[in-house]
């Protein structure tokens, strides 16, 4: 009961006129920053952090939380509209969001993303309020072995359920992981894979460079070729009636939204995991549990709802280790943590006792920000649809310019823009031969985490791989991942038996 009282007080703080104003401005700014390919919540929060030093800490964090939420929504916008993930957290949203937009259902996908994000935010705030302290303990039990097991599971879902050519999927995952290893080796600090001694490789290959290259440049080249450069991207329409019917359609997605919220929240709790693996796993789970897994990747509304609810739930979840333990769960929370230290607030277990107004003000403002982001997002849908209806010979150069500027902005290095162009063109050539591109982008996102968790586990176990199987949590996760890896083999055997005449068929599953 005491917690509810505290939460209500938090709402009173969040609804003060000044704070409410900051929430609305923050959501709107965040929405646009998130919708830019190349810029995500991290950039928004980082860039506007200094602005917050002129207001009291509680208002400051409310403003940043609003930017955070706005940017999470915005990331989905560019995923759906342009097929370019605006941030790593929105990678999984492109898988079905983009096909929906191509089919002329961009408005439905946008509504789905907004409603799912709202659901994710709501569920996670309830979970946060009710189970904050015990969950922090469970998350702490997750060591490096468990994290690596989760990574295996994420890749396993792609092999087992991807439906693409198996060796090509393997290749795609592996090249993504190798590219993620470029730069300085985290443990020894030595430079590695510095191609041609070009200094630009020292800071590694940012996943955005690959993602914008493949989904921006490569995707547009693909569209230009298949449409001869003439047609519109999608025959989108929008009306109040369509939005209302889209809202009704969302009722059918309740299961995947709730599932996504729980998965996202829990993965978000894990220190150093955050919203990106959360949304990817939620997508995998939704696909696994679906009666019709083949429709995923072709414009299934659940494929938008699950990852979007998960990434918002995870963003609330990742606040928990930051506040209680001082361990940020995502790059964005790391910056928030930096802000808190500057504001003179010390993260740690005492924060919940000493700074109740701040903690619950933050939680409540996350909730208020969530609501405003939903409203703003739905209000902006006609604008987004209007952009989609521009002729493709106008839209294509606009997207190319966005890609170039967006590829430059995060590191401010033209080297990355060239690399992005290279990835875009080679990705396009590979895609023409049915090499799946999504696993590569996921692998470069998850690569650094996979490597450090693998190396830490092996260090602790002195090189024995048994550590992944013996531990009570990682063991079962690894077992499920292995099953997924072997699934295509079982399918192939079954198919062979069923159709004895056709000895081998390339496209298993």
């Amino acid at each position: 009961m005491e917690i509810i009282q505290l939460l209500l007080n938090g709402f009173l703080v969040a609804l003060e006129p000044m704070n409410l104003f900051l929430v609305i401005v923050g959501c709107a700014v965040g929405l646009f920053i998130g919708a830019m390919p190349g810029l995500g919540s991290v950039n928004g929060v980082a860039i506007l952090l200094p602005v917050t030093f002129i207001v009291p800490p509680t208002s400051a964090i409310i403003f940043l939380a609003a930017i955070y939420y706005g940017a999470m929504y915005g990331g989905a916008v560019s995923s759906i509209m342009l097929g370019i993930p605006g941030a790593s957290t929105a990678v999984a949203t492109t898988f079905d969001g983009r096909p929906m937009a191509v089919q002329g259902r961009a408005d439905v996908a946008l509504v789905a993303a907004a409603v799912a994000s709202f659901t994710g935010g709501t569920v996670s705030v309830i979970l946060f309020t009710a189970f904050a302290p015990p969950l922090a303990h469970v998350a702490l039990a997750f060591g490096s072995a468990e994290e690596f097991a989760l990574m295996l599971l994420a890749f396993g879902t792609f092999i087992g359920l991807g439906g693409d050519d198996i060796p090509k999927t393997f290749f795609s995952i592996l090249i993504g992981l190798v590219l993620s290893a470029v730069g300085l080796d985290v443990i020894s600090g030595q430079p590695r894979l510095i191609f041609g001694d070009i200094p630009g490789f020292f800071h590694g290959i940012n996943f955005l460079v690959l993602a914008i290259g493949i989904y921006g440049i490569g995707e547009i080249l693909w569209t230009i070729e298949s449409s001869r450069g003439e047609v519109q991207v999608s025959k989108a329409e929008v009306s109040v009636k369509r939005i209302l019917s889209a809202l009704k359609e969302m009722v059918g997605c309740i299961k995947s939204m709730i599932m996504g919220s729980f998965v996202g929240y829990f993965v978000g709790l894990l220190p150093a995991a955050g919203a990106t693996p959360g949304s990817i796993m939620a997508y995998g789970f939704a696909k696994t549990m679906s009666k019709n897994p083949d429709s995923y990747g072709k414009g299934n509304i659940d494929g938008v709802a699950a990852p979007e609810s998960a990434n918002n739930a995870a963003s609330t979840g990742s606040m928990l280790p930051m506040l209680t333990l001082g361990i940020p769960g995502s790059p964005t929370t790391a910056i928030l943590l930096g802000g808190m230290v500057i504001w003179g607030l010390e993260p740690g277990p005492r924060l919940f006792v000493d700074q109740t107004e701040f903690v619950w003000g933050l939680i409540a403002s996350l909730y208020v920000a969530n609501l405003f982001a939903l409203l703003l997002n739905i209000a902006f849908i006609p604008l987004f649809i209007w952009v989609l209806k521009l002729p493709f010979t106008i839209l294509a150069p606009v997207i190319f310019v966005l890609c170039v500027v967006g590829g430059y902005a995060p590191t401010q290095d033209l080297h990355d823009v060239w690399l992005m162009l290279l990835f875009g063109i080679s990705g396009y050539l590979m895609r023409k031969l049915d090499y799946p591109m999504a696993p590569m982008v996921l692998a470069i996102v998850l690569g650094p985490l996979a490597e450090s968790s693998l190396r830490q586990s092996l260090l602790l176990s002195e090189g024995s791989l048994m550590v992944f199987i013996e531990r009570p949590i990682s063991g079962p996760i690894v077992a499920v991942a292995m099953l997924l890896f072997l699934l295509p083999v079982f399918k192939a055997i079954k198919k062979k038996r069923a159709a004895g005449k056709e000895p081998e068929d390339g496209s298993q599953g």
Binding site: I33, M36, L39, I47, D165, P167, K168, F170, F171, L174, I175, L177, V178, A181, D185, I187, S188, Q190, R192, L193, F195, L221, I224, E225, R228, G229, P391, T393, I394, P397, V398, F400, V401, V404, V405, Y408, A409, Q412, L414, V417, W418, L421, I425, L429, M430, K432, L433, D434, Y435, E451, L454, R455, Q456, L458, L459, G463, E504, D505, G506, S507
Partner: protein, 165 residues
């Protein structure tokens, strides 16, 4: 298509081997007290890439994948010209950023793309060629404080910095 499939597999196999060799610049074995060497993770993954590429090659030679049975050309002449034109324009745009900066390259790219590829009216083309850099300037340089490369046009922006920053 069959030739492209085979060539892609060969190119990717060679690239994988190169990555293995490149990774081996760092220790790939077990270092006592430190765990696996810095090169081990990319080395073994690149080895996996090589195996996958060879697997793809074998399947392509045996004609298992749909692409390796297809006799359609990888590019037909019409799309080859179009794609070549677009890629060329992109390379020129990024290249010209080094010289004339973003605010020179963006208008040129818009004029080329909208006029030559899209055949839009001069009014529309000019509107985008001027509007896009203006919006870019206000969003990135003023709102977000991200300076974009300007090449030799840098001094032209000093008065704008004075007004807005």
């Amino acid at each position: 298509m069959r030739l492209a499939e085979l060539m892609m597999a060969v190119v990717l196999a060679i690239f994988s081997a190169y990555l293995m060799w490149k990774s081996a610049e760092l220790p790939i074995g077990w270092i006592p007290g430190e765990g696996p060497g810095g090169g081990a993770f990319p080395f073994w993954l690149a080895a996996g890439m090589l195996l996958s590429a060879l697997w793809i090659l074998v399947r392509a030679i045996r004609g298992i994948t749909p692409q390796s049975r297809s006799s359609e050309p990888y590019f037909d002449s019409q799309s080859a010209v179009l794609i070549g034109l677009v890629i060329g324009a992109l390379v020129l745009m990024v290249g010209s950023i080094h010289l004339v900066g973003v605010y020179g390259a963006i208008p040129l790219f818009f004029v080329f793309y909208m006029k030559i590829v899209g055949r839009h009216s001069w009014l529309q083309t000019t509107a985008f060629a001027i509007g896009a850099p203006v919006v870019t300037f206000f969003f990135f340089e003023i709102l977000l404080h991200i300076t974009l490369p300007k090449g030799f046009t840098e001094p032209l922006f000093y008065p704008l910095y004075d007004i807005f920053m």
